[in-house]
């Protein structure tokens, strides 16, 4: 397999140029910067967070994964299900027996067992946990990926700042969301580039019948007229089209980075043969190349109204291996300190078994896990009651979660979006506090 052409390598010099907009914003507002530093346990870490290029990989467990078969098992109870719990590297902390590899690196993971949200249905929940706030029509809040693309991305990067890897073309409710407005008021340039399944970006090569010079000349002409039209008409639609063209141009120069066959087979074997693992591996390599935000989804396999235990006995071992490999590989490459890995869905699942021996949607008390980017490894935050039916300690909602994610990535969660003619919106509303227990 030939090595990638260094001249086309999107990870080189451009990615060392820090032109993140949040830094521009911070330099303009001392008050904002002060409050941002106060969100960390250590002011020194706040400084580090601001200086380094950050990345985020979101393992989006769409459908709502069960906390009982993952991070908050309740063995030997009437609701616990057939899986046992196992000890982890953190004394006194147990995970489901389906997560033995994660148990072995529990000192690198932060687990929140006390998520308490209000959205009970998928579309509502996906919106809430992707955007961090309930809808406020007619305004469309950008998703986490779009905000991070804006805040962490390079303005002149060829590699997309928001990459969504999803091999499942359908996904029911998730399909509807995928067709929706991800970037909201930030505009189309912060929408995701969606790839998945074939590990190739189709039609990304310049036609042989067009020379490089000809291609560039045509692009210059298109760019001139496109920008002129956008400026003359003050057209947001034209702006979106121009942004899309820019991204397509970028993709043409880095399409090879999406080709999984360039990755050594041994590396691929570590992630398992399934589509989810292979896409997680691709996410890792894209982060190595400088991608700020990669979201890996896999349809909605976690929505187990029927066959809960039958599906989880096959789905969770896959997830266990993926989190383990990602954490280990990022650490081995010196990237874990600057890359936040999040594994979560839009809610959890009911303690009680339904008639179909499945578990239904449950936003009252659910769990998620993170690793890297200064997140406190070994932290297990919050608690639920004996049956996992209620949060008994440290409840957190979507705003606390987003404040945590932004803070870990060096973004002021309480900063305002700069929006002309809009009401005031913040990255996270209501001055919601981050989950300090998992921030270093």
């Amino acid at each position: 397999m030939p090595a990638p052409d260094p001249a086309q390598n999107c990870g080189s010099p451009d990615h060392n140029i820090h032109r993140r907009r949040f830094l521009q914003g911070l330099s303009a507002g001392a008050i904002s910067s002060m409050s941002f530093a106060g969100l960390f346990g250590s002011p020194a870490f706040a400084e580090i967070a601001k200086k380094k290029q950050k990345h985020c990989i979101l393992l989006w467990l769409c459908g709502g994964p069960s906390q009982f078969e993952t991070w908050d098992p309740k063995p030997n109870t009437t609701v616990g299900g057939p899986f046992k719990s196992i000890p982890t590297k953190i004394p006194g902390t147990h995970f489901s027996e389906l997560l033995p590899k994660c148990a072995s690196i529990a000192d690198k993971l932060a687990v929140v067992r006390s998520m308490h949200t209000k959205a009970k249905e998928h579309t509502e929940g996906i919106n809430l946990l992707q955007r961090g706030h309930a809808p406020r029509p007619p305004f469309t809040r950008p998703t986490m990926g779009s905000v991070l693309a804006q805040q962490l991305g390079q303005l002149d990067s060829k590699l997309p700042n928001f990459i969504l890897l999803d091999p499942c073309p359908e996904g029911n409710e998730f399909k509807g969301f995928k067709a929706g407005n991800w970037a909201g008021w930030l505009g189309a340039e912060y929408s995701p580039v969606r790839v998945g399944g074939e590990f190739k970006i189709p039609d990304a090569n310049r036609l042989d019948s067009i020379t490089e010079d000809d291609h560039e000349a045509r692009e210059a002409l298109r760019k001139f007229f496109g920008k002129k039209y956008e400026n003359d008409r003050k057209s947001s639609a034209a702006s979106s089209w121009n942004a899309t063209f820019e991204r397509v141009n970028g993709l043409m120069s880095c399409a090879h980075l999406f080709d999984l066959e360039r990755i050594p087979q041994a590396d691929r074997d570590h992630y398992g043969p399934g589509a989810f693992g292979q896409h997680a591996l691709l996410a890792r390599t894209l982060v190595e190349e400088g991608a700020p935000f990669v979201m890996v989804a896999n349809g909605m396999p976690w929505d187990t109204h029927v066959f809960n235990h039958e599906v989880y006995q096959m789905a969770v071992p896959d997830l266990d291996n993926i989190i383990f490999q990602l954490t280990k590989d990022l650490e081995d490459r010196g990237l874990l300190d600057d890359t936040l890995v999040i594994a979560m869905g839009e809610f959890g699942r009911t303690p009680w078994i339904n008639q179909a021996r499945g578990r239904d949607h449950f936003p009252d008390a659910w769990s998620l896990a993170m690793a890297g980017c200064g997140v406190q490894g070994g932290a297990v935050v919050g608690a639920t009651d004996k049956y996992g039916a209620e949060v008994t300690e440290d409840p957190f909602n979507e705003e606390n979660l987003f404040a945590t994610i932004f803070t870990a990535l060096g973004i002021d969660p309480h900063a305002e979006f700069k929006l002309d003619g809009f009401p005031t919106f913040h990255h996270v509303e209501n001055k919601a506090a981050p989950i300090k227990q998992i921030l270093s």
């Binding site: 009437t78 292979q278 349809g299 396999p301 187990t304 039958e310 004996k386």
Partner: protein, 356 residues
């Protein structure tokens, strides 16, 4: 000839979902339940002075309960991988052996009561489209009831969810998630004699997620042992809903696998079918399970022509069934919603139907 029908005679509540039923000595009914309990149950004719009584307990879901008339013992199976020998008179277990590292999905006893067979297998990702990985332990095991000795280990592709002995006890059949059924001749030291595959009982979740659902959940040999019935669910458009067709198919195998019959499209709804039982008279059989959409979740079908003779909406999911030897009653076991822990609800159900 008059078509049979079902008339409800009694309904019994148990602590949790009933996964298996068997009739013991003098037609005493026993149930294996999701809470790990093995229960002796009062029926129409056998009254204990209470609805049920716990006689043994597993460390995980109790998935199977079988009666050996020749050995005068019950043999239960569980998701803990154990088989337990239970003395029905003393009402306590006499022996426990480890059969599997993973769950026992289903277990059955041979008609002469001398053998007990059990299936296992964790589904682990083995391919890009989540094809099952090869087994890590033999998926099918056969033990001698009298000695607890392991007599046969058979390979299959996990998870293997269903198993059946032929009526003459000579053939063993086991079916898996992928719709693959293997038949072994126990008189020829377990020689594989047939392998059939039907894609109709499985579905890859392209719509909602990348995993397989369904599988062959129940197997039953026809009374003459010339054909084998499979029950389960057809491919789903939404795996999370379990909305595949309610399905049975009949195969012969002697001249190569051949489908000889199937539930007619116009007579079925949607939902997973988990259990098959043959009426002692041999003229018809019962299939039951979960209702997603349609009119029934238990029905009687004509063995000769496959037509539906009677349908019943039981009102809850059925996982187990058995006819009484005199053919007068059909017992169905399953459960309703568990309910919140604070409700402390008895959510297992057994309903007894009189055959009229």
């Amino acid at each position: 000839m008059k078509s049979p029908s079902l008339k409800k005679a009694k309904e019994i509540k148990l602590p949790s979902h009933v996964l298996d039923l068997t009739l013991g000595k003098d037609n005493q009914l026993y149930a294996a339940c999701l809470d790990g309990g093995i229960y002796q149950v009062s029926t129409v004719t056998k009254l204990l002075g209470k609805p049920y009584e716990e006689i043994a307990r597993h460390g995980n879901y109790a998935s199977g309960i079988n009666w050996s008339s020749s050995q005068n013992t019950l043999v239960s199976a569980s998701y803990d991988g154990d088989l337990k020998w239970i003395d029905p008179v003393a009402k306590k277990e006499s022996k426990t052996i480890k059969a599997h590292d993973f769950w026992s999905w289903q277990s059955r006893i041979s008609p002469d009561g001398k053998l007990v067979a059990t299936t296992t297998g964790q589904y682990l990702c083995g391919g890009y489209k989540y094809e099952p990985a090869p087994e890590t332990e033999p998926s099918v095991k056969v033990f001698e009831v009298a000695s607890q000795k392991l007599l046969h280990e058979f390979p299959h592709t996990p998870p293997v969810q269903s198993i059946a002995f032929s009526n003459n006890g000579k053939i063993l059949a086991a079916g898996n998630l992928m719709g693959e059924v293997i038949l072994w001749d126990l008189e020829q030291d377990g020689k594989e004699i047939a392998r059939l595959k039907t894609p109709d009982f499985t579905g890859w979740g392209i719509i909602k997620g990348h995993y397989y659902t369904g599988g062959v959940f129940a197997l039953h040999f026809a009374p003459d042992d010339q054909s084998l019935y499979l029950a389960g669910m057809g491919s789903t458009t939404d795996p999370a809903a379990g909305n595949g067709k309610q399905l049975w198919q009949k195969f012969t195998w002697k001249d190569g696998p051949k489908k000889e019959g199937a539930a007619a499209d116009g007579e079925i709804g949607q939902g997973l079918m988990e259990t098959l039982a043959f009426h002692p008279g041999g003229r018809f059989f019962a299939m039951a399970g979960r209702l997603f959409k349609g009119n029934w979740n238990a029905a009687l079908f004509d063995h000769e022509n496959g037509s539906k003779l009677h349908e019943q909406n039981v009102g809850f999911r059925i996982s187990a069934s058995t006819f009484t030897p005199d053919g007068k009653h059909l017992y169905l076991g399953g459960g309703v919603n568990q309910g919140r822990p604070s409700e402390n609800k008895k959510w297992g159900r057994i309903v007894i139907y009189e055959i009229t």
